[in-house]
């Protein structure tokens, strides 16, 4: 994990939070020979929430996972095109994917706390698993700050040593958010973080997204249009031309515009529920 090249060195973590904008150009995303998403161009602004919407299977998750190089974890998966975060082209051969993932955090659709770890250890996982030596007081600070950031502190402060799997689904998801922000990423990706949750947990997480917006660049995939309208500044609509065809970015605009007066007919149709 040593910073071998200058490129990598410039990608080292900053201690103060530096939210970054993301520029995507001509991105084609493949699973083996299957072209899943085609020709995406977009700019995701820093310190704001960008929502990705669109029908199932149009490639929202696939696209999201290219933003922290999680896509290539799947055997045979690859991309063409450019993703630039703060002047670094993520798919440049000199860029270390592991380093990218330390700076672009991710929250998954299903809560996935580590079953062998306690609540506190789950929060510290990103640091501990990377062999970062922490003093006890530092570790306690990180745990408290991250859990407070994830709006979970009050519910779990008396049982930090208990297993993370013992929490409810909504609490587990907030624990996963705490785990993601404990490493102080610059960008936070969320793939339908509320789809497995009840309305109360959902609103807790939406509140959290509102608070995190000031420090992080957030990209969130959601199936819920009201949620997109509530939490995001900008919205990108993805669609499929047909079964077996690649997904495409249809339009990206400020959320207000998308939901009141979209440029594209297809967006209008999707949002008004005429299809999808």
């Amino acid at each position: 994990m040593s910073a071998g090249t200058d490129d990598r060195a410039s990608f080292e973590r900053n201690t103060d939070l530096m939210a970054k904008s993301i520029d995507v150009s001509d991105l084609n995303i493949f699973y083996g020979s299957f072209l899943a998403v085609e020709g995406v161009n977009m700019t995701i602004p820093a310190r704001s929430v960008t929502a990705l919407i669109g029908p199932s299977g149009c490639g929202k998750s696939t696209f999201l996972r290219t933003l922290n190089r999680m896509h290539e974890v799947i055997p045979g998966a690859r991309v063409e095109g450019k993703v630039v975060v703060d002047g670094n082209s993520l798919y440049d051969p000199t860029i270390d994917p592991v380093e990218v993932r330390r700076q672009v955090g991710m929250v998954f659709q299903r809560p996935n706390p580590f079953p062998t770890m306690s609540i506190a250890d789950n929060v510290l996982a990103g640091l501990r698993l990377n062999n970062k030596k922490l003093k006890k007081s530092e570790a306690e600070d990180v745990v408290e700050r991250s859990l407070k950031g994830a709006n979970l502190w009050n519910e779990v402060k008396d049982r930090l040593g208990k297993p993370g799997m013992g929490l409810s689904g909504g609490q587990q998801q907030r624990l996963c958010i705490a785990r993601a922000i404990a490493v102080r990423p610059q960008v936070l990706l969320m793939d339908e973080p509320c789809s497995a949750l009840d309305p109360i947990s959902t609103s807790a997480i939406e509140d959290l997204i509102h608070e995190l917006r000031t420090d992080y660049t957030i990209v969130i995939v959601t199936h819920n249009m009201q949620q997109a309208a509530r939490v995001s500044e900008d919205t990108a609509f993805f669609n499929l031309a047909g079964a077996g065809k690649p997904g495409r970015l249809i339009e990206m605009s400020p959320t207000k515009k998308i939901f009141s007066n979209p440029d594209e007919e297809a967006t209008e149709a999707y949002i008004s529920g005429r299809f999808g």
Binding site: M1, N68, M70, V73, P75, V98, E99, V100, R101, R102, Q103, G105, M106, F108, R110, N112, P113, F114, P115, T116, A125, G126, L129, N130, N131, R159, K162, P163, M165, G166, C176, R179, A180, V183
Partner: protein, 360 residues
Amino acid sequence: MTTTAPPPTTPPATPHLPLRSARLPRSAPALVAVASLAAAGVLALLLGWGIIAWAVVAGLLHLVAITVWSRAVENPRAATDRFVTSLIWMALIIAFVPLVSLLYIVVENGAGQIDGQFLTYSMRNVVGEGGGIYHSLVGTLLITLGATVISVPIGLMTSIYLVEYGARSKVAGWIRFLVDVMTGIPSIVAGLFAFALFALIFNDPGIHFGIGGSVALSLLMIPIVVRSAEEMLKLVPGDLREASYALGVPKWRTIVKVVIPTALPGIITGVTLAVSRVIGETAPLLIIAGSTDSSNFNLFGGQMSTLPVFIYYSYTQPGLNPEFAQGRAWGAALVLIVIVMLLNLLARVLGKAFAPKTGR
């Protein structure tokens, strides 16, 4: 929530649904079983049958009686249910007969042998009565430990390759195939292999030492460890790996710190099963570890006695006073069984201790 309930009205007359039907009393199967045993017992006494004929007739009587009774009182579906349930119970009992009788006979013959001297004396200079299995106990424990130390790292790393790196590659397919072939190697062949290998290496056609036995046993253990660990690693949800990668944890550290700890209880169980499988092996140890009457703590030099080999020689070559040697053989067999049972208990305790806790 607080609306007042509507005034009670007479419930509409629902047509009577035949939800209830006659049932036999809960004790019916037990009653019938006792009655069948008694009836068959009377027949057995009158006609002078042996115990097997008695059991078979009692079983048949029970099947017929419970089915007929159920058909008369309940309904045909319940009767079929009772019939099949009884069949399954009988299969269970039949399966238990060999296990229980084996344990019974070993305990009956072996328990009397076991005392302090039996466990702490070797057979050095013992003719006839006395002596003990200390040398064989030590040999078995050391050789099995050696086999475990060789097999677990190799087996675990192979399974990690198969699950985490090879996955669907050709190489992994070949390894799986070869591991399956290895599972079927006769143990005597493993012993001959180890013997030939070390005889060649040390250019000594009469070579005997403990570690050779460990190598032979590890040939039998490795495939079991690989296969069981592979299954356990495959059970670890991909979500957890992705969660770890997404935190910027490199792959190897994800494996060491997330995947293996999550699969650890299952891996421990698999290793214990593999140990239990090889700890009673006789043939390979006969060939390469040899046999001796004295204690030998050195795995790397000299013959080493083990419990199975000790049992084998005590029974086949009991010497002048066969009853003493044979008694020792039973005692050693009991000790071997107890060791395997303790190992299984230990595996359960460890499995529990390492199991992911839900805290609920």
